[in-house]
């Protein structure tokens, strides 16, 4: 499982996928951390699918408004230039291709870019929330996750075993070990992170990988 350290590394690398001026949706959990590392040089607007464009920092105790939360139900603030709207408008933004980047967590990703991240059969069903809409809407879908499961099993596989969130939707996968792009020709390993080798990644991946690592 990712250490605090590797979570920070993943979040920092994911931040580089965000360009100045982008509108970004960050999923619940590790993706939310990315917000902490957004360069002050960039103007980035964070969308929250419960109806806020322009998530600000967490509030001070005095600023807490119970009616102002993010999609993870945490109390937040609104940034300058923010807008509130209803859930239909929020998903119009998402589904309509207006979000530049969505960064989501993942349980499994297939070599075709299928994503499974919403349920484990036999375990309690919690629901997909906005994930199934997000994977079809944002211009770039980045999955950030541990490279292997808690049991040490590969999470990047030829095909997903878990029920899908979306088919052929992922553009990039970032783990603590490296960065993999999903291309029409299959998965391409583009970056290997400190402390790992190409072989480490091949061993921990259950799908064909083309190696195209720039030094």
């Amino acid at each position: 499982m990712a250490t605090a350290n590797s979570r920070e590394l993943i979040a920092r690398r994911a931040e580089k996928e965000i360009a100045d001026g982008d509108y970004v949706n960050l999923g619940i959990g590790m993706p939310t951390l990315v917000a902490n590392y957004i360069s002050p040089e960039k103007t980035v607007v964070l969308q929250s699918e419960n109806g806020l464009l322009g998530i600000g920092p967490y509030p001070t105790e005095d600023e807490v408004d119970p009616d102002l939360i993010n999609a993870g139900k945490e109390t937040v603030t609104a940034s300058t230039g923010a807008a509130y709207f209803n859930s239909a408008e929020s998903f119009a933004m998402i589904r309509g291709g207006h979000i530049d980047v969505a960064i989501l967590g993942g349980m499994e990703v297939s070599e075709k870019g299928d994503l499974a991240n919403w349920m484990i059969p036999g375990k309690v069903i919690k629901g997909m929330g906005g994930a199934m809409d997000l994977v079809h809407g944002a211009k770039k879908i980045i999955v950030i996750m541990d490279h292997v499961s808690k049991k040490g099993e590969p999470k990047i596989k030829k095909t997903c075993d878990l029920p899908l969130t979306g088919k052929g939707v992922v553009d990039k996968i970032i783990t603590e070990r490296g960065l993999i792009e999903v291309t029409p020709q299959g998965l391409v390993l583009k970056e290997v992170f400190e402390g790992y080798t190409v072989q480490d990644i091949l061993d921990a991946t259950d799908a064909d990988l083309t190696i195209d690592v720039r030094e």
Partner: protein, 228 residues
């Protein structure tokens, strides 16, 4: 000039066993607190509830669940509630999970007289099983049908006596679409003001969608207090 109820009990009086209700809110934010409590008190049963979530064990729709008043739940995320889990696994509670954007759009369509629409969400997943899939411009979409309700219960910051509503920040969420999709819509507002006091350019729910109003204080419990 809309009916202004003197109590939540009076407002929910016409709600009967077996009805379909839409209930606004995202998590505990923007839920009509007093109307939910009145439904619990009334003991109305076999409800079909359409709401993004199902409250928590001790608040919101979780209270209806605890009293086994809900027969079927249509929602997108129900992970905050142990009793939900128990009833869903034991088969006591029927559950229809819907992607959040599809849920919002199905409700919006219901209020807007659109019986069905195509959406990409869920294509290639178990959500699309048994539904029509069609390709437009080289991409696949699934046909989803609209939702309406016998009653919609929504929570506003302010209402005017005509029934216009405005919502507070992210407490808006599903409330405006639900207000439009209910055959009867009751707006629970923190404050009811005279017609003319709200800015006509900033109305979130125009009065045409609202049949009755209730002024009520809100507890606004916080699920995840997060501070800097």
């Amino acid at each position: 000039m809309k009916t202004i109820y003197s109590s939540a009990r009076e407002a929910v009086a016409p709600i009967e066993d077996g009805m379909t209700l839409m209930v606004g809110g995202f998590g505990l934010v923007g839920i009509p607190e007093q109307l939910i409590l009145a439904l619990v008190e009334k003991g109305v049963k076999d409800l079909t509830i359409i709401s993004n979530n199902c409250g928590i064990d001790e608040w919101g729709l979780g209270l209806l669940l605890k009293e086994k008043q809900i027969k079927k739940m249509i929602a997108s995320y129900v992970g905050e509630n142990k009793e939900f889990e128990r009833q869903a696994l034991s088969g006591e509670l029927e559950v229809e999970l819907t992607p959040q954007g599809t849920l919002a759009e199905k409700i919006r369509a219901g209020g807007a007289g659109i019986p069905a629409f195509f959406t990409p969400a869920g294509v290639g997943t178990q959500i699309a099983e048994g539904k029509e899939i069609r390709e437009f411009n080289g991409k696949e979409y699934v046909l989803e049908e609209s939702l309406t309700a016998d009653f919609s219960l929504v929570r506003a910051l302010k209402a005017d006596t005509f029934g216009n509503l405005i919502y507070n920040k992210t407490a808006m969420n599903f409330n405006p679409m639900m207000a439009a999709a209910g055959k009867v819509t009751i707006g629970e507002a923190e404050e009811i003001v005279e017609a003319g006091e709200l800015d006509p350019a900033c109305i979130h729910t125009p009065s045409i969608y609202v049949q009755g109003l209730l002024q009520a204080e809100q507890e606004k419990r916080i699920e995840r207090l997060t501070t800097r």
